[in-house]
Every structure is written in C-alpha cells, then in structure tokens.
Symmetry: C2
Subunit: 65 residues, 2 copies
C-alpha cells in the first residue's frame, strides 16, 4: 500500500497528524486540507503543504506564518 | 515504489503532467508547485492541488479560476 504519514512541522519538529493517509483535498480555498486515512479516519489540517515525499511516505504540513 | 502520476484537470479531462512523481513542493506562496519524478525529471506546475489519492497513485492539479 502506498499511503503516507502526515506531520505538522512546528518549531522544526515533526508532530504526527495521521498515519496511513490516502486522500488529501484542499478546503476553504487552500487555507486547510482534509486528509483521510485508509481506515476512514478524517481530519481537517489548518495550514499548507510544506513538502511531500511519496517514496518516503511523508507529507509535511506547516502553519501559515 | 509509491510514486504517483500527476495530472492537470482541464475542462473535466485529465492531462498527464508527469509519471512517477516522488517529490512535491509549493513555490511562489502556493501559486505553483515543483514536482520531481523518481527519475529526476522536474516541472513547475502553475495551479493548485485539486486532490490526491495516494493508494490510487493519482495527484490532480487545477488552474486557479
């Protein structure tokens, strides 16, 4: 399976938001994202995408400054 | 490998931008994205992320309206 783990980067540290993320969709004109795991868990993440590394299964979000 | 294919959605149709995308990073304050394949190919995509489906290996971009 090719899901990824989503993290929020805060003060240079990565805090896990959700494991096994499958779906990512922008909400509110890209000021937040809805993420959903392969288990059906959902979260709204306020912020923007900082980087995604699919081969490393890693999605990093950051807050707007 | 868990890379995905990137498409631009235009008039409801999906046009392939790049296969085997590994890295995605926003540029220019999220008005465009730099995408890089596992083969090192790079592209700047003007627009925003419409949706990502990692298990289906699919990343959809769309132009700003």
């Amino acid at each position: 399976m090719c899901e990824a783990n989503a993290y929020m980067v805060k003060d240079g540290k990565e805090e896990l938001l959700m494991e096994s993320v499958d779906l990512i969709e922008p909400e509110d004109n890209n000021s937040s994202y809805r993420i959903m795991s392969i288990f059906g868990e959902q979260k709204i993440v306020k912020g923007r995408i900082k980087s995604m590394n699919l081969v490393a299964h890693k999605i990093l979000f950051e807050r707007f400054v």
